[in-house]
Structures are given as C-alpha cells and as structure tokens.
Symmetry: C2
Subunit: 381 residues, 2 copies
C-alpha cells in the first residue's frame, strides 16, 4: 500500500464526484473530549405507540388517519417544505439594477412525501432482513417511476415490480429532481423514531446533485463515454482497503473522499442510471447492501447508529447527456466518531474553510468490514 | 417592499458571495417539534476553574503552563490539525493510471493556535464591552500581520497597534490561508466554555474562501473594478429590512442568502481587504459590531447562544487580484431556531440536495434588530 504514510500526516483529498477538497488530520483523534455527549436512543420502544403519527391506524396532525398498513405506507408530508400550488412569483425589476442582481430569488414548487419502512414502531432498517427492506426499495422505485417525465428515456423501462400496495397520484406538474432521504436518530434531526424516510421533489436541480452531475458529465466527455463511478468501483475492488461489503450488483465503500467519520457509499458496480435501471436481482442486491450498512453501523458502537442517507440518481427530467451520465448511488453520512456518545462536529473550521476529518476512510472501512459483520448486536441482548 | 410574497411561498435564493442557491420554506416553522432538545449551557460557571486548560496559571494537556495573562493569551494548539513539519509526501505514479486520477491526495502543513478572549472562565464575548473585545481584535490583527507573505502588498501597512502583550513567532514556512474562527457552545462542538477561539493556518486555499474569492474576482471583472460586498452593503442600507445594527465602519446584516436561522454577517462598509486595512477607529467599530451581535444573540432566547463564527479576508499570499478583490467580513452561523432548546438541523435534504431554511432572513433580522437590543439579559437576573 503506497499510501501508508497518509495515516500519519495531514493531507487533503480530492472528491472527483463533487469536485471539491477536504482536510484529513489522522492524528487528531488522540485529543481528549470534554464536550457534548449524545444520548443514545432508547432501544426499548413499544411495537405500537398510540401517539405516533406514523403507526398504522393512528390519526395524524392534520386529521388524516393512517390505514392499517403492513410494511410500507406513503403519504404527502403534512408540513411539506415545498407545495404543488402556491401564489405565483417572478422576480421583476430592471436586471441592471444592483439590488436585482444581488437579491435574487426564484419560486420553487414540488411535492414532499413521508414513507414508513415498517409497521412496527420499534424497528429500524438495521433490524430488517434484506427481504423486509425490499418492499421499501420497490416503493421508492414505483414513486420515482411515476414522477418521471414522459420525455425521459428512463420512463419507458419495464419495471417488473410486485403488485403495488398503494397507487401513487401523478404530480400536478413535471418536477426536475426527486430527493429520497432518511434522517435517523435524534442527533440527525429526526423527531420520530418510527422507521421512515422522506422524498422531496422539486422544480429545479438542487446544488448537490447539480455539482455531481457536472462532474460526471465532465468525466464522460474527457474519457470517451467512460463513467466516473464505474471506474472508481474498479479501482476500489482492486485496492480492497476501503471496501466494507460487496455482492454481485453493489459495492459498499468508505469513499476515498469521505467527510463523515464512518461515511459510506453504496454504489452499483455496473453503470445504472436510476432505480428503474435495476433488475429484480439488483434490487435484491441493493436491499442486501442497505441491510449490511445499517446492521454494521449499529454493531460498531452497539447503539442505534444515527445517520442521514440519500439517493443520487438521474433527474426526473433533463438532457439525454444528464440522464445518461447519472450513476445510481446512496450516501450515508453518520456523525458518531468515537463511541455511542461522542460525535464529530462539522463546525467552525469545516463551515468557514473546508470539511475536516480525524480518522482515515481506510481505518473506518477496516472496522466496518472486519469488526461489525454477523448478527445485529441487539439480538444477543 | 416588493418581496412580501416571499414570506409565504417556497423559493430559492441565490448567494452571489459563494455562487450557490438555497431553499427557503417560510411556512415550515409551524410544524410541531418532538425531536432533540439542546441543553442550554450553565450560566453559573466559576470565574476560575482549576481543571480548565485555558485559565491563567493552569497546566495544559502536554505539560505547558499558561502564564497569568490579563485579557488574551495565544498558544500553539496541543492537538493541532495541521503541523509545521511532518514526513514528506508527493503523490507518485503514472497520472494516466485511473487510480491516481480518482484517488488524489496532497500534503498540507500549517500552524494551529488557540486564543483566549478573557482570563475569566465564566465570560463570553456577549459579556464583554467593545473596549474589552478590542484586545482580541488587536491580537488577531497582530497574528494575521505576522503571517503575511513579504510579497503581499498588505504586509507593508503601518498597524498603529498598542504595544503587544505577546510576541508571535514567525511561522517556519509561508502559508496561504489563515482561518480565524470560534466554536461557541456544546451544540457547536465546543468542549471548553472558557471564552476562546482558534486560528488554523495552512498551505493551500481551502474550499470556502476559494469559492468566495472566485465570485469576488468575477464581480470585479464584470463591474469595472466594483466590489460585490461594497455594492451589497449599499443595497442593504437602502432596503433596511435585513439590517441588525450599523455604525460608521460596519454593517451587521442577516444576509439575503442566510442558511442558518439567525445567521449574521459583519461586513466593512468600505472596501477593506483584511484586518490590517482597518484604522484604529474601524477596529473599535468592529469590536462594537461583534459585541452587538453576540449580546443580541444571547438576548434572543435568553440563553448563552451557540454559534460558529469565522473571518474571511485576503489570503496571506496570493496574486494582486486575489488580495485586492478580498473584502473583510465575519460570518456567524448559529443553530438555534425556535428557543434555547430547539435547533435547526441541516441534515438529510440539506446534505444530499441543498441547504434549506424555515424562517426568512427578514424575519430573523427584525427580531435581532427590534427585540434584542439593550443590556445583556443576564445583567438583570
Ligand atoms: O478543536 P476543537 O475545539 O477541539 O474541536 C472542534 O472544532 C474543530 C474545528 O472546527 C472541529 O473539527 C471539531 O470537530 C470540533 O469538536
Ligand atoms: O422533516 P423533519 O423530519 O421534520 O425535519 C428534519 O429533516 C429536514 C430535512 O432534512 C430538516 O430540514 C429539518 O431541520 C430536520 O429536523
């Protein structure tokens, strides 16, 4: 391994997927920590909580009643950040006027969903088997497909999904981006432990996917149609040192450029543009990869491991080049650093100057790969 | 006010200083919060804590003993993220090899300082008068000046500083960037309540200042030498609605493009490139502006308000265009949203897609301007 020295010296690493740098200071974990302690979440929740707005049969904040669903259930967020209809707005005024140049705004519409992963209040993805995670992936696929623009080449792919448990209403307008994500744990702003994720769909391409798309397109142009993440997967499989888990369809890796201490990327080995590009087997492989990540996370510090995760894939509407340059992957950003109670804070230097991490991605991958496999720790308790 | 409607609809705002967009969803604060509660920091700390590694006369982790200093004291961080000397490293290998292209690293050296704001363990910047904050600003200026490259036109400016209380050792190499910052409060990763800030100085220009510099230079080229932030200050003074405080030298504003709920920018009204460009009066004006921000923050929710703050100014070394396009300003990023215990989490959507805020900067500015002036709330307790 030529990079042994990188365990000892401060260095910057380049993230070719975002086109940005971060600072790595591997010796920093030696400092004592007297700051904030996270409270590990209680693992003794009831299976059903009558006051939970996500449990089957319960009434939600705005009066709607959840059906007695079995695995998954999706509904429009009662406190949506973007809405399908709102008052019209176009920024007026003389564009050469400084105030119009420096105070720019544009309207956004869209649709926000909440989606449960299980009917049980006290489970998380880490508790579920791949077969139990599959309905979530199928539902994500169904929702993504139903929001695709008819002009998107992805819209004509046959899905081979099992019969859906819910019909998804067509959105009232064509949106550009669908962000599928989960905030897990109080440390990551989650306010309800019932296993669930969110989907925010908007006009306009948000900053992060736009930055990635730009890099992916640039790489394709410079490498005769080659795909950055496909090439990256090859390099990682050859190097081995950052791999956490792999199966036929997916690689789970602590990326070379990881910012969060135990950050992981789940990436399709072949060039898949979006959920709808996955075959039935690949959807199962993806479910297994998600199960491996979340169970290994919980095993690491024997706690319900907080994180934010999110899927990056092709936009719902875009140029052919944008659709075809996209490469399906899922990011996991977990804050814990040393134990169930000591997290990494991405604060002063990180916000003002540049992201900074304390352990190397190689050290993180080694622990997740070698020490965290096997049964979920809670099963033995 | 033509933008009244922006209080009601979801929209994106453009940040011309970073060249990026954010999502504003003003109606989102209506949702109930059942998530994490921050623990407000104890305000009954002792004036001297024998176990604090920053109090005068105390021994630090690596054995050094602090002098019995009066106001400020600066020393090299015992757990520096970057160091002046480390093993040499240059990435080798064939650059056309994919692994060298996708796994890029570069060494970083530099110097990290810790700097106390007061000898009293139980004070914060909010407790200090402008005259008591001035020594901090003078020390920042002294440290910045002593790290400037001799080829930097800023290095020959006479400083008119009072006699320094400490001599600052010359760094062993010429660094490019100096990041002055503070993490205040446990919610922002601070592990010691003794009032202090940090300075990290590095080879290479970090991501955030690099992005700002690029935007500032672009604006100058497109506007015949005009300065983006000077023009922005004029617009805000005319509009009034985002101003928190102003004096002759500085404007305190909730920027149009603020991400954090009560984010504030302290910006020099005239084009000042760095701390060394400030006159004696302007340093006092800056001290007053910092006192106003921190006191108003504490008054907002009657708590010791957590934040990360940082100064952006000219690089220590750079092209003439880079030095002259720089505009001195200080960012404050505070997480609290609704009360002393409920913060904003910038998590799933924000990390995966784009920053998102719930109240408008105009609403935030109005509260900080109209409801938070006057004495520090703790004085009446
Ligand atoms: O240097 P400190 O105060 O120990 O550490 C704090 O500030 C650093 C710089 O923003 C962060 O990297 C750390 O995560 C945070 O805990
Ligand atoms: O929508 P929720 O779960 O109420 O809210 C959570 O996720 C959102 C999207 O990442 C964030 O904007 C909120 O700050 C966070 O508390």
């Amino acid at each position: 391994m030529p990079e042994e020295i990188l365990n000892d010296i401060s260095h910057r690493r380049y993230n070719p997927l975002r086109g940005s740098w971060l600072l790595v200071s591997p010796h920093r974990t030696k400092r004592p920590w007297q700051g904030q302690q996270e409270s590990p979440s209680k693992i003794t929740l009831p299976e059903y909580d009558p006051s939970c707005y996500l449990c089957p049969g319960n009434k939600r904040a705005q009066g709607d009643v959840n059906p007695k669903y079995e695995n998954t259930f999706v509904f429009v967020n009662d406190y949506s950040a973007v809405k399908e209809s709102q008052a019209e707005y176009t920024q007026g005024g003389d564009p050469s006027d400084l105030s119009n140049l420096l105070l720019r705004a544009a309207p956004v519409t869209g649709k926000c969903y909440v989606l449960t992963f299980s009917s049980s209040h006290n489970l998380t993805l880490a508790d579920l088997t791949p077969a139990q995670i599959l309905p979530v992936i199928n539902l994500w696929t169904q929702i993504y497909a139903s929001h695709l623009s008819p002009s998107n080449p992805l819209s004509s792919i046959p899905l081979n999904l099992p019969a859906p448990t819910q019909t998804i209403e067509k959105p009232s307008a064509q949106y550009t981006w669908m962000q599928i994500f989960e905030n897990k744990g109080a440390a990551m702003g989650c306010s309800n432990p019932h296993p669930h994720g969110q989907i925010w769909t908007t006009t306009g391409l948000p900053e992060e996917p736009a930055a990635e798309l730009q890099q992916l397109i640039k790489y394709r142009r410079e490498h005769e149609g080659g795909n950055l993440l496909e090439d990256y997967v090859k390099v990682e499989i050859e190097k081995k040192e950052r791999i956490v888990f792999e199966n036929a369809g997916f690689l789970v890796v602590c990326p070379w450029w990881a910012v969060w201490p135990f950050e992981v990327m789940v990436v399709s080995k072949k060039h898949k543009r979006a959920l709808v590009d996955l075959s039935v087997e690949e959807r199962s492989d993806f479910a297994e990869a998600v199960a491996e990540v979340t169970r290994r996370y919980d095993n690491l510090f024997e706690t319900s491991f907080p994180y934010s995760s999110g899927i990056h894939q092709a936009p719902l509407e875009g140029t052919e080049e944008e659709i075809n340059a996209s490469h399906f992957h899922m990011h996991f950003y977990p804050p814990l650093l040393r134990s169930a109670t000591v997290r990494k804070f991405l604060v002063g230097y990180e916000l003002m100057a540049e992201p900074q991490r304390d352990i190397t991605p190689e050290q993180a991958a080694k622990r997740l790969r070698e020490d965290c496999g096997g049964e979920l720790y809670r099963k033995h308790l």
